[in-house]
Symmetry: C2
C-alpha cells in the first residue's frame, strides 16, 4: 500500500496545517523556528497533478532518460563486489578524497581553481544550503536573495529564522544597483546582512543568467559591504549552446561559498552535492555536517566517482543539454503561439525553467486549481518569494515532459488564462489576494 | 592524493581551533550556535590511531565482513537496470513507501506496532536526531540524557544550543529516580525540558541495557512531567543471545519519538535511518527534512528495500550478533586478565561498547597520546558528557578488530595504565584536569 496522499487529511492533522491543529498534544513543545514551517499549499494539488492525464510543468525533476543504465548497472555491481566493505562503511563528514579531487575537475569547467581540501561533500546541495545557513544565520539575520528565488533556499532560511530581503532581477539577472541599495537600507535599519544568496546561471525559477559584466560588480558590492556571497550553481553546465560562464567563485575565492550538485548533471536520486568554501569556513562546515548526518553516504560518493572516472561524463551532459534545449524550444514556441496578449516570459538559454508573468487581475495561486482541472500544472510564483510577491507569476518547468506534452500543456494553460482574463475583463480582479510567503521545498518544486 | 590529516595544520586554521583563528576573515559573521562548534581534540589522534600498527578500540565502525557482497552486487545491478530511472530520481522527503512498510516489520521485532505513514526516512539516524532537535529545541531549552551519552547526539544538541542535563545510569540503565529529580530541579530553575534522549538497549557508550521493569516507570515520569521521550535504538537487534526488549515506543506511541537505523544491522555507508513519530510530529518532521536535504537518497532506500525483500536479513543480523559476541567475549576476557586492580567496566550483552572506569588520579584524555604511542587507541570519556565529567572513563569498542587484535590492544592498554598508576602512586595525580565538554561527532566515534 502507499501512504494516503495529502488530499486525504487524517483526523488531528489537516494537510494544510501540519501539526498546528488544536489536537496536536505536542503543540506547546515545538521550537519557535517551526512557526514558519507550514506545508506548501500547492502540495495537495501535486497529488492530483501527478496523475498521468495532467501535464505537469510544475516539478523540477531532471529527465534521466538519457542515462546509460546498463553500464551504470555494471559499475555499481563492480563497486559492491570489489570495494563493498569500503562503499558500505561510514566515511568522513568531509567526503571521499578521490571524489573531491574529481569535483575540482568539474568546477574547472567554470573557471574555478580549488583545492580538494576545501570541498565538503553534502547530501545534495540542499544540505549545503542548510549547512551554510546553520553556520551563518542567527534568528533575525538577513539573507539577500534574488526575487524570485529557489523555494528550497527560502525553506532553509526560514528554518533558521533568517529574514529574506529580495533584490530585483532583469533579463541579465540580479541588478547590481538594487543589491547595493538593499544592503545599505538593511544596514541602516540596524539589521545584519549575513550573505547574498544567488543563482547566477539559468536561474531557478527565473530562467535568466547573470550577465558576465555584472559579476565583478556584484562581488565588489558584497566585498565593500562585508557581505559573504553564497553562489548556488546546479545548472551551470546546462547551457544549451555548451556555453559556460565564469563562476563568481572563480575570481573571489575568499568571499564566495560555492554550492554544486550532481543532481542535474548526473543523478538526483543519489543526492550528492558539495560546498566549496574558504578554508576556515570549510572546517566549520565539516563540523556542522557531522552533527547533521555524521557523513554523506560513502556508497553514493563512490558511485559518482566511478561514473566520472569511467564514463564520458561531459558527453553525457551534452546529451542532457540537447534534451533540455529541445524542450526549451518546444515551450518557447508554444508560449509564443498560444499565450494571450499581456503575458510575458523569460527566454532561458540553459536550465529547466521559464518564468511567466500574467496580466493584472489574475492570481496564479488562486488559478492553479482550475488549471489542474484543465489537466495542466505549474508552480505559482508566490512560493518563490518570502515577501508576498509573485501572485502574477508562475514557473513553468520544461525539463521533464516530452516536447509534445509540453505543447499540449501550454495549450491547456492558455485556455485557462483566456477564461480567467474573460472574468477579469467582466468583473475586475476575481480573486482575493492569496496568502503567500516562504513555503518549504518539495522535490516537486525543486 | 589525500587531504592532509588534521595533524598538519594549515596557516590560518589550526586543526584544534577550526575557524577561531584571528586570521579567519569570516570570524564576525558566524551564527552564535557555532561558538560550541569545535573539533574534537582527539580527532588529531585518530590520524595516528588509524595506522595499521595501532589497535583501535576507539571507533564505532560496524564490522561488515559478514555481508554477502556477491549477492548484494547482483541486486544493486538489477536495481539500476530494472528500476534505475526511479532509483536515480528525486523522491519524497517522507521516504519510499515500500521501505516504510518494511521498516514496520523490522520494528515489530521489538514490539512496535506502527503505521508506515508515521515513519520518516532519514540520512542515518543522526539526521533523525538533528531533525528532532530542530523541531523541539530553542536555544537554552534543556535535553535530559543519560550520562554518558552518544557523542553525536551531544553534537546535535549543541548545534541547536540546547543544554544537556545528564542523569545517572547503573548496570540496569537509566535510574528512574534521578530522572524524576532532574526534571523537577530543571523546571524549578525556570528552564524548559524538551525531551529525554535515551538509548535503552546496549547503550553507546555505556554498554548497559535499561531493565524492562524500569521502562514503564520512565515513561510514566516523562508523561507526568509533560516531557517527550526520544528513544534511540540502533543496537536493539544486536543482543548476543538473540534477546530483544520491548521498545519504549511499543507501549507509549503518543509520547515517544523513535529513532531507528540500518547502519548496524545492514550497512552504515548507505546512511539509511528513520524516525517513527506521533502523527502531528511526523508532518513537521517531513517539512524539516525537506529543508535539510530535500529527500533522502532514493537509490539507497531501494537498495535496503530489495535487501530486506530478498535476503534472509534476520539470519544476517544473527551472523552480525555472533561476530560481535565473539569480540565481546574477547574483550571481557582480556580486561579481566590484564587490567590492573582499581579498574572496573560494564558487561554488555549486546552492541559494540564497554565502558571502563580507571583509578582516581588517571585522566583518560591526557593519557590518550601515551596510549596511541603504545599502539592502542580508545575514546576518552569526556567526549560523552556535556558537563565536564568522564575524565576517569573510556569507551572501548570491540566491534571491528579481530578477537586476537582486541586481546593485544587490551594488553597494551593495561601496560599504559600500569605506568600511569605508577606515576600516580609516586607523584599523585599527574595531569591537570583536561578541558572537556561536548565534542562534535565523527564517524570515528559514532
Amino acid at each position: 500500500m502507499t501512504a494516503p496522499g495529502p488530499l486525504e487529511p487524517r483526523p488531528g492533522a489537516p494537510a494544510h496545517q501540519a501539526g498546528h491543529s488544536n489536537l496536536d498534544p505536542h503543540l506547546d513543545r515545538y521550537a519557535s523556528r517551526t512557526a514558519g514551517m507550514t506545508a506548501s499549499e500547492i502540495r495537495a494539488l501535486f497529488a492530483v497533478a501527478s496523475r498521468p492525464e495532467v501535464v505537469s510543468l510544475a516539478g523540477g525533476m531532471p529527465n534521466l532518460a538519457a542515462l546509460p543504465l546498463d553500464s551504470l548497472s555494471t559499475q555499481v555491481a563492480e563497486l559492491v563486489a570489489e570495494d563493498g566493505l569500503v562503499a558500505l562503511q561510514y566515511g568522513s563528514a568531509h567526503g571521499v578524497p578521490v571524489l573531491r579531487e574529481q569535483i575540482c575537475e568539474v568546477m574547472a569547467l567554470e573557471g574555478i581553481s580549488a583545492h580538494p581540501d576545501d570541498i565538503v561533500v553534502t547530501v545534495g546541495s540542499q544540505m549545503g544550503l542548510d549547512m551554510v545557513t546553520r553556520l551563518f544565520c542567527d534568528p533575525g539575520d538577513v539573507v539577500i536573495a534574488e526575487g524570485p528565488s529557489y523555494v528550497g533556499a527560502l525553506g532553509s532560511f526560514a528554518a533558521y529564522q533568517a529574514q529574506v530581503v529580495h533584490v530585483a532581477m532583469d533579463d541579465d539577472g540580479l541588478v547590481p544597483a538594487t543589491l547595493d541599495e538593499a544592503i545599505i537600507r538593511v544596514k541602516s535599519e540596524g539589521r545584519r546582512v549575513k550573505f547574498l544568496y544567488t543563482i547566477p546561471n539559468f536561474h531557478n525559477p527565473a530562467g535568466v543568467t547573470l550577465a558576465v559584466r555584472r559579476r565583478a560588480e556584484i562581488l565588489e558590492i558584497c566585498a565593500r559591504h562585508g557581505v559573504l556571497v553564497v553562489e548556488d550553481n546546479p545548472y551551470g553546465l546546462l547551457g544549451f549552446d555548451g556555453q559556460t560562464y565564469p563562476a563568481l567563485r572563480s575570481t573571489d575565492p575568499d568571499n564566495v561559498v560555492y554550492l554544486g550538485s550532481f543532481s542535474k548533471t548526473f543523478a538526483s536520486g543519489l543526492r550528492v552535492g558539495w560546498v566549496l568554501a574558504p578554508h576556515a569556513v570549510r572546517e566549520k562546515l565539516v563540523l556542522a555536517a557531522e552533527s547533521a548526518t555524521l557523513c554523506p553516504p560513502t556508497f553514493n560518493q563512490l558511485v559518482v566517482s566511478r561514473y566520472l572516472a569511467t564514463h564520458d561524463w561531459k558527453g553525457q551532459i551534452k546529451k542532457f543539454r540537447e534534451n533540455y534545449r529541445e524542450r526549451r524550444d518546444a515551450i518557447l514556441g508554444a508560449l509564443e503561439q498560444h499565450l494571450p496578449p499581456g503575458c510575458s516570459w523569460t527566454r532561458p538559454d540553459g536550465g529547466f525553467y521559464v518564468w511567466v508573468t500574467v496580466p493584472e487581475g489574475i492570481d496564479t495561486k488562486a488559478m492553479l486549481p482550475r488549471a489542474v482541472t484543465a489537466r495542466v500544472a505549474y508552480a505559482s510564483g508566490t512560493g518563490f518569494y518570502a515577501d508576498g510577491l509573485g501572485s502574477r507569476q508562475m514557473r513553468l518547468s520544461y525539463c521533464y515532459p516530452t516536447p509534445e506534452r509540453i505543447r499540449e500543456g501550454v495549450r491547456r494553460l492558455a485556455g485557462v488564462l483566456e477564461s480567467e482574463m474573460d472574468l477579469v475583463r467582466t468583473f475586475g480582479s476575481v480573486h482575493p489576494r492569496a496568502v503567500s510567503g516562504p513555503q518549504f521545498p518539495s522535490p516537486d518544486t525543486a
